[in-house]
Symmetry: D3
Subunit: 318 residues, 6 copies
C-alpha cells in the first residue's frame, strides 16, 4: 500500500485511505455529468481525487471521514498532483483497517500524553490551583484525547494539543530549574490552561478542525479559559478576585503577548513572560520539525510555512 506522501505523477496504485472530503459535482459537458470530488488522506498527507461518471450508487455510498479502498492513477492538473479514481469502495470490517491508522497523529499516544498531564497536575503543590486546573481540564477531558492545537498553524493533528502541552511542560520544568525564582505551580498551571478551551473553540474530528464554533468566534479560547477559571472559583468557593485566580487568568489572557495577536493584556508576571516564550518556541519548532518530516528527502526546501513569516526551511547538508 502506497503512502500519500510517496505518490508521484503517473503512479498507479491500490490501497486504503481516509475519505477526508467527498461531494457530488457536475462537469460542464452537455448534458452535465455527475462526478465525485474527493480528498484522499492518510497520516502522511492528502491529495485531491476525482471519480468521473459517478453512478447513483456511488453518490450514496460514500461519506466524509470514512475509510475506502481505492485503485487510482496519479495525474498532474494545474501543476498539482490529482488522483483519477479507477475503482473505489468503502472499507469492510474484514479489511481489518481502522480509522486511527489513517490520520496524522502526535508521535506519542494520547493515553500516554494525558497520563503525563494528569501526573503534572497531581504534582501541583497549591491545592486551590490544582483544583482550578482540574476543573478546567475536566471540561474537555474527553476531547483532549484527540483535539489538535490549531486549525492549520501548528500541531494540527490527532492529539496535537496534548502533545503541545507535554512538550511545553518539559521545557517549563527545565526553565524552572535554570531560573528558580519562577513559581513552578503557576507556570505548570499556565501551560496546562493556556489553550485549554481550544477543544471548544474549534469543531474537530480525528484531529482535523472543520470550523470554529460559535462560542469560538464570539468569545475566543482566551476569554473562554478566563471565564472557566471564574466558573471554577465560584463553584469551588474560591474568591473570584483572590491572587491565585487573578494570576491564572493573567497567564491565560496574556499568553499571546500582544493585542494584535489576541491578548487583551500583556505579560506582567515573570511566569507570564516565560509562558509566552515557551508557547512560541514549542509551536515554531514543531512547525519546523513537522515541515521537515513531511517534505520528501529529495527536496532541500520545505514548503512555505505561514506561521514562520511564510518562510521555507532549508536542510543544510555538509
Amino acid at each position: 500500500m502506497t503512502l500519500i506522501r510517496q505518490l508521484v505523477n503517473q503512479d498507479e496504485f491500490v490501497g486504503f485511505y481516509l475519505l477526508k472530503e467527498v461531494e457530488v459535482k457536475q462537469t460542464n459537458a452537455t448534458p452535465p455529468k455527475d462526478y465525485l470530488d474527493i480528498v484522499l488522506a492518510d497520516g502522511t498527507g492528502e491529495l485531491p481525487a476525482k471519480l468521473w461518471d459517478a453512478s447513483s450508487v456511488d453518490k450514496e455510498a460514500f461519506f466524509p471521514m470514512g475509510l475506502v479502498k481505492v485503485k487510482g492513477l496519479v495525474q498532474t492538473y494545474r501543476d498539482r498532483l490529482q488522483v483519477k479514481i479507477m475503482q473505489i469502495r468503502p472499507a469492510k470490517p474484514e479489511d481489518g483497517v481502522k480509522l486511527t491508522d489513517f490520520i496524522r497523529s502526535a508521535p506519542i499516544s494520547s493515553t500516554e500524553l494525558i497520563h503525563t498531564i494528569k501526573q503534572v497536575i497531581a504534582d501541583i503543590s497549591d491545592q486551590e490551583i490544582k483544583d482550578i486546573v482540574t476543573f478546567c481540564v475536566g471540561k474537555v477531558e474527553e476531547k483532549l484525547e484527540h483535539a489538535p492545537a490549531a486549525k492549520s498553524h501548528h500541531h494540527a493533528y490527532f492529539g496535537g494539543l496534548a502533545y503541545h502541552m507535554v512538550r511545553m511542560l518539559e521545557l517549563g520544568e527545565f526553565i524552572c530549574k535554570q531560573r528558580p525564582f519562577l513559581n513552578e505551580d503557576l507556570l505548570k498551571a499556565g501551560i496546562i490552561l493556556h489553550d485549554i478551551a481550544k477543544p471548544e473553540e474549534m469543531v474537530a474530528q480525528l484531529g482535523i478542525v472543520s470550523e470554529y464554533s460559535v462560542q469560538g468566534k464570539l468569545v475566543g479560547h482566551i476569554s473562554m479559559a478566563s471565564n472557566w477559571i471564574t466558573e471554577a472559583a465560584v463553584r469551588l468557593g474560591i474568591g473570584t478576585e483572590s491572587p491565585k485566580v487573578l494570576g491564572l487568568q493573567h497567564l491565560v489572557l496574556s499568553h499571546h503577548n500582544l493585542g494584535e495577536w489576541g491578548s487583551p493584556v500583556q505579560p506582567q508576571m515573570a511566569e507570564a513572560v516565560a509562558l509566552h516564550f515557551i508557547d512560541a518556541m514549542d509551536a515554531k519548532l514543531q512547525m519546523v520539525e513537522d515541515a521537515l518530516n513531511t517534505t520528501p528527502d529529495t527536496e532541500d526546501w520545505t514548503p512555505f510555512i505561514r506561521g514562520l513569516e511564510n518562510k521555507a526551511i532549508y536542510r543544510l547538508k555538509f
Copy 2:
C-alpha cells in the same frame, strides 16, 4: 473667589480650593530648605503651587484631597503659570465649603444619572438579560455614583462613567428606532455592561483616578466584565454557554473593535458593531465638548487632545 481657569499672570487672589496633591520637598540651597509642592484645583482646572519656607506645622497640616483657603500670587515659571502661596490654612466647618463644590463633575447629578440607568434596566424585556445586567451593576453600584469613565482620556470626572452610559443610551435608543433590525435589549445591556468593570479597574476618588488596580492591570476591565457575566450566570443558574451569555460577553469583549485597542475578538453581531460606534462617537464628541468648555473664549484653538490623534480643535467663527 476666583476660579482656577480665570487666573492670569500677576493675579493676587484669595479663595478656597481643593488641595489635589501635596508633598514636602527641599530646595537645593545650602542648607536645603523644606517647601510644599502643591497642586490646587477646583471644578474649572488645576495649577501647581509652592509654599516656600514651610514650617514644621505646615508640613503636618495638609493632606491630599482636602480643602484649603489660600492667598496667592500667580507667576510664570518655565512658560507655565504657577502659584506662589502667601498664606494657606485648612478649611474649617464654619467656612461652609464642601468638597463636591471643588471637583469637576458631569453636568447631570449622579442621582439622576443612576436613576435613568436603573429605569433603562427595568425596561429590558428579557428577564435573564435583565438579571445579568442587574447582577453586574450591583457589583459597583456605590462606586458608579462617582467613578470617572477614564483616567484622563474622556469623561475623566465625578460621575463621568454614569454620564457616558446615559448619553450612549440616548444615542442607542435613536439608532434602534432608525434601524429596527437591531435588538434593543442586547444593545442597551451592552451599553450598560461595556465599561461596568472600570470602577474596579481603576482606583478613583472624587472622580479622579490615582492609579490602576492590580486586577485592572493583570486582567483589565474588558475581561473582568466578561468574567462577571460568567459569575452572574453561575449564580443565577443561567447556562454559561447559553446564547444570551455568549452574546453579552461578545458585546463587552469586542467593544474596543481591534486587538491593538484591547479587544480579544472583533465585533461579529449587529449590536456589537453599533455598540462600538456609539461608544467611540460619544467619547470623542465629549472630548471635543469638554476641551471647548475648558478653553478660554479668547482662544481660537483648544489644547491638543490626545484621544483625537493629538489634534487641537478650532472654533470657527463667521
Copy 3:
C-alpha cells in the same frame, strides 16, 4: 418567477432577469466552440450563467444591462452555483417588465430622497453656505438620482448615495439636539458635501459602478469636492479664504479621518469630528443590515464583510 436569491442547486426555472454582463468566449474543445459567459441579476442578487453552443444570432442578440427571459438549470461548479441556460431571449415591450424592477435599490425612492435633501438645504440658515451647497449639488443633480455610495463597500446600489446622505442627516439632526454646541448648518452642509463628488469619481449605471473615472483616480472625490467649493466661491463672489469656505473644505477634506484612509488633514473642528463618526457609523451599520438582508434566513452567519475587518456577522437567536 424565481428570485436569484432563492435559487438552489438543481432548480429549473423560467423568468425575467437583468443581463448584467455578457461576453462571447470559447471552450478549449477542438475545434473551439463559442459560448456566452453571462451574469444574471435581479434586485436580490446575481449568478454566473453559461449559454453553451451560442449561435451567430445569439452572439448578436444580447448586450449588457438589458433585460432577458431565461429558462435555466441551476448547477454547482467549483462549489458555487452557476446557471446552465436552456433558452434565452431579449425582453419585448409586451412583456411589460422594466429595468428598475431588476436592480438593487435603496429602500426609499430616489424622488423622495432627493426631496428630503433639498428640504434640508432649504433649511440651512446661512445664505452663503446654502448657496455653496446648492452649487455643488447642482453639479451632480441628475446623477444623484441613481448614484451608489461606493463601488462595493457600502450602499452599492441604485440611489445608495442619496440614501446614505438622508440617513446621515437624520443622525446629524439627533446629534445636534443632543449636543447643542454643534453648528447645525455646518454639520448638515458637511453631510451633503462629504461624498458629493462621488458620482463624478466613479462611472455608474443603474447604481452599479463599472470603473473609476480618470478624474476619480488622479484627483479623488475628496479633493474634487474641495475644488468645487473653491469654484463655487469664485463664481458666487464669496471670498475663497473666508471662514465658511475653509470650514466647508475642512469638513470634506478631513472626513476619512486619517491620511492612510485618504484624508489630507485630520478633523480639527467639532463638526468635522461629528461628521466622521456619523459617516462611519451609517456606512458600517448599513453594511451589516444589507448583509443580513441578503443572507438566507437559514444561515446563521453572513458572508465575510470586507469593510468590517473582513468579519462575518452572526444572527444571535434566543
Copy 4:
C-alpha cells in the same frame, strides 16, 4: 565679532546678534526677581541667554526679531551652552548692521532665485500651463522672497523655499534629458507648484516659521495648491476638468507619495513619480549638507536629523 557657532564654554564676547525671542520671567527667589529669557541668533546658529536682574527700562527696550549689541559670558547649564548677558542694548542706525546679515539664508540670493524661477516659467511652452503657474506664483510672489520650505524639517531659512525649487528644477532638467519620455512642461510646473502654498500655510518672518496659519491647519498646503489651480482655471477661463488642470492637480496632490504622509492620491503619472523622488532627494540631501555645514569640523558626527529616520551623519575621513 564672534559667530554663535564658534562660541565655547567660558568665552567672553562682544558683538551684534539677532534677538530671536525675548520674554520677561521671574526667578523663584523670595521676593521673585524679573529677568529676560532670550534667544540670541545669527546666520550660524542660536543660543539661549539670560539677562538677570532686568530693570524696568530693560523690560521695555527689547522686542523679538530686533538687532542688539551684547557683551556676554558663555556658561554650561544642564549640559547645554547658555549665555549670561553682561551688557545689552538695541542696535542703532549708526552701528551700520542690518537684519538680513544675522539670519540664516539660502546660499543664493532671493533675487537670483526668483529670477531663475521666472525664467523657467517663461520657458514653459504650453500657454495654459504657463498661465496657471503664473497665477499661482502671483499669489505668493512677495513672500517667496523670504519663505522657508518648512518649519524645521529642511530648507528652514530665509529664501529656503525658492532655493529648494531651483535645485529641484536643475535636477528635473537633468532627468528630462536622461529620460526624454517625460513631459518637461508638466514636470517643471509640478516642481514650481508642489509647495507653492507653503508661504500661506505657515506664518514666517525672515525665514523663521512661528506657527501654522488657520488655513494651513484646516486645509493644508497640498489642498490649498489644488484649490488655487481650480481658481486659476475659473478665472482664466480654462476648463476646470481639462486634462491639464487634472494633471497639475494630480502632481500637487500626489507629491507626498503616501496617504500617511499627507497625499490624498498616489502618483499615477510618470511626471508625478519623478516629482516625488526629485522632491525627496533634494530635501534629504539638503538636510545632510546643512547638518554637515553647521557641525563643527572637530566633530565626526552631526546631531541626529529628524527627517532622516533620526540618524546622525558621519564624516568619513581617509
Copy 5:
C-alpha cells in the same frame, strides 16, 4: 512575423518565438490526453499556449529556453489571451534566428554598458577603493553581461543590472556636480557595489530569473556584497576595519534604507543617503518607462505596477 505584444483575439499567425516554458500535462478527459502547456515569448512580451494532442515525438522535441517556429490561433480563455498551437517545430540553423533576438534586453548593449562601468572604475582616484571594486566586479564579470537587476520588480531583462548601474552612475555624476561636498569616489563605488552580488543571489538565464540561489536566500545580496568587500580586503592586504572598508560596507548595507526593506543599518553617510535615493529614483522611473513602453498605445493606463504601491500609470494627453 508578428510580435507577441501585437497579437489580438482571433489572430492567426506564423513566426519564431522563444519557448520560455514547456511542460507535459493531461486533460481530464477519459482517458486523459497529453498536451503541452507552453509559454511563448519574444522581446515584447509573452503568452500562454497549448499544443493539444501532443504526440510522443512532440513530448521529446521541445525544451525550455529554445527557439521554435509556431503557427497559431489567438483565443480568449478566462478573459486572457491564449494561443492554440496549430503547428510547432524547433528552429533549425538554416532559419537564421538567434536567441538574443527573442528576449527582452536593456536598450543599450551589454558590451557598451560594461565598457562604461569599467571606464568609471578606472576613473576612481583612490587606489584601494578601485582595487576593492575591481575585485568584487571580477567575481561576477561574466554574469554581468546578461544579469537582470531583479526577478520581476524592475530592470528584469537581459543586461538589466548593468543598465541600472550605468543610469545610476549618470545620475550620481550629476548629483556630485550639484553638491560638491559629496565624495565622488565613494558614491561611484557605492553605485557599482550596491547590487553587485545580485547575479549570485538569483539564478538567471538570458535575463530571466528562475529562482533565488541557496546563498541568495540564506545570506542575501546585501550581506554577500559586504562579505565580498571583507574578502577583497583580506586578499588585497587592506585593513578589514579601515575607514574605506567600513565606508564601502556601510554604503552597501544601508542602501535599502530601512530594516523592513532589508538593510541592517540605516544611511549615516552623505553618500549613503545619496545612493539610496539615486537607486530608488532610477528603479521607479525605469518601472514607469518600461510599463509605458509595453502598454499598447491604445491604452490610457498601464497595468498595475507592484513596485509603485500597485498603482497604474496614466498617459495624460493634451
Copy 6:
C-alpha cells in the same frame, strides 16, 4: 557601608563608591559658582550627586570610573533621590577597596563563564566549524571577560555577554535533547557567534557601555560577525561559499528574526529558528529576573521595562 539600593530620603551615610560620571558645572547664581555634577554607583544601583562649591582642587581631583570615599546626605529633588555630598576624596591604596567590588556583574565569574564557553567550543565535533568559532572568539577574547550584552536592554553589566552565552548554551543543550533533529554543532556555534561582535560594536568599560563605536554604527554587530566568518574562512582556507560558512552566516544574520529588528534575512534553517527563540527567551527572562532583583522587596511592581513592551512586572503573593 550602605549600598546605593538601600539609601532612602534623609539618610546620612559614609562609604566607598564608584564615581561613574563627574563634570564641572555652574550654578546660575551671580556670580556663577562651580559645582561637581556626579553619578555615584555600586553593584546595586546608582544615584546622582552634587558637590556644591567645588574648589579648584576638587575640580582636578576626580575622574570618571574612579573609586571615592563619600560622606553624604540623601535628599529629594524633582521626585527623585539625589545625594548632597558633604565630603569626598579619592580612594587610596590603603583603603583596600577594588573597582570590581563596585560594579554590577554577572552572578558567575568571568573566568568560569569563559572556561565553560571554551569547553563547549572544544566539544564541537566538526573541525571547520570549531575553527571558525575559535577564530571569531579570538578576536574579542580579552573583551569577553567584561563585555556587557547590551547598552541597557539586557545583561548590561560586567561579564553580561558571556553570561548570556552560557545560559543560552544550557538552554540550547536541552532543546537539542528534546528535538534530536537539530544539529547541535550548528546551534552551539550560532549561540556563541550571534553576538560575538558586540564587544567591538560598543565601547564599554567595566561592563558599562559609554557609546557605540563608528564600526558599530556604520556596520553593526550582525554584519560585523558575518564579515568575521568570511575573514575566518579566507584565512583558514575554507571555501567562502561552502555550506558551513553560509550556514553560520545565516544563523548570525537572521537571529533578530525580522528586518525591522535588524536582521537582513529571516530564519530559514531549523537551528536559526531555535537560535532566535533561545536568544529572545534568555534576554527577556533575564530582564525580568534583574528587574525583580533590583526592586525593593517592599514594592509589588518593578519599574517599567523597556524591552518588555514597557510593562512592569508584578510580584504575585499568595
